[in-house]
Symmetry: C2
Amino acid sequence: MSLEKLDSNKVFGGTLTKYTFVSESLGGLKSNLNVFLPPKSQEIKVPVLYYLAGLTCTEDNGAQKGHFFKAASENGLAIVFPDTSPRGAKIQGEDDAYDFGSGAGFYIDATKDPWSKNYRMYDHVTKELPRVISSSDLPIDTSKASILGHSMGGHGALTLYLKEPKLYRSASAFAPICNPTSCPWGQKAFQGYLQDGVQEGKLHDATELIRSIPPSERRLDILIDSGLDDKFYLSQQLLPERFQEAAREAGHDEQSVKIRLQPGYDHSCEARAILCPPLAPLCVSLTFFP
Amino acid sequence: MSLEKLDSNKVFGGTLTKYTFVSESLGGLKSNLNVFLPPKSQEIKVPVLYYLAGLTCTEDNGAQKGHFFKAASENGLAIVFPDTSPRGAKIQGEDDAYDFGSGAGFYIDATKDPWSKNYRMYDHVTKELPRVISSSDLPIDTSKASILGHSMGGHGALTLYLKEPKLYRSASAFAPICNPTSCPWGQKAFQGYLQDGVQEGKLHDATELIRSIPPSERRLDILIDSGLDDKFYLSQQLLPERFQEAAREAGHDEQSVKIRLQPGYDHSCEARAILCPPLAPLCVSLTFFP
């Protein structure tokens, strides 16, 4: 389970390193991740931000196109970029679609055969990665973590944050899928990966999840940035208003759940450039980005 | 010759737009470019930075991975990203190699058949693009321009700047090819594109060019950033020390020709992340990047 270094280079004063390891959570398949370490990590263990990428992506997209390193370097933050699914599970149909199987793990643990052996990205991100990082010699303090994602990875960031209050101090999401049980991408994924399909998918739906968390139980720290000229927003794959409405109904104020719908911006967090001031109000309790 | 808009999206408060047009300089082939406009361009015509990409790249690489837009947006600077060669000239062998033909125009005007009709990237960047931009309704003041490039595009930035004192106020280059007549990439390109091969290539070699420009004639403003862990530096494709030596011999001081050789950094300005603080001291005479 130890990390094997594949490649490393300096960037914005820090270091970006690609690792691979044999992932137990993914059924013994090899899995890659990129890790950015800021200069400050040479002195102390630094807090960490997990970045979850979207459909079709790998551990490289956010590292190459995310524009995060200058801010992370200046603010002493590590960033961990996992892959978006297992690779090479040799399941029939695994590579047939851009929105299911390889590159489309949806950050859930599949409960339906033949996917349930390998497609366990929830466990991979929430349990295995912190364990692997903590048992390595990486200067990262996994007890200080936040989570960020784009599109399918935004769905991942929101749901993992809502389900794991002890793991993450904040969640940020660019153009996230907010109500997957009500959109084609989410319905297809849940029907494919889960025994009880879309019904079971409600356990992994940010809009459903936030309904059941009263502010008295937990003060949330969520930021969503979504573009109004995003074709996936326009085709109702993202549905941020549903999440916003559910948050409001549950009693969360606009400071706890910030949703910015930005005219003129599209889905291109990774496709062409990032949507908004990167990481702007990411997390006051962890590391403050001005 | 007018610009046809293909795509546009907002990014860091500005706008990134992809255009295509029928390029006379490239023998009537269609050519693409990306143009970033900062918010300030809504009020006044803004200065422009040309970004020349490296081998295998297109107009998209710098726009997607360059990490330039936050700084450009804050500093009121447009960025123009041309392609790296003509496309679809239907010359035999055009697509056979990564370092010659398509994606490898070297920012020179070919003088050898069959390349000389279409492979005229020098003319394309120095004459046609400013003309096309000026005759469009883009809010860009092409009389205030600087030039930047990576690898083969760094060679382009240095040589275009040295040969066109009236066009560009500064040149910046990440991991540039500095002495192409002495390295395999440059020798192959010059032998292929130029009637008199490498000998003629001296007219397009930054190290040769800087020798003939005394400081009394022109105060230069050049910044080179190159990584010492760059495999192309190590395999002597880049040769920044040759350029440094020639600049010193010609009498240019280290303020006019700044060369930073950075331990730990590789060639990945575009491959994985940018090499150094982006655009840092790009150009004092044009727009100052802090």
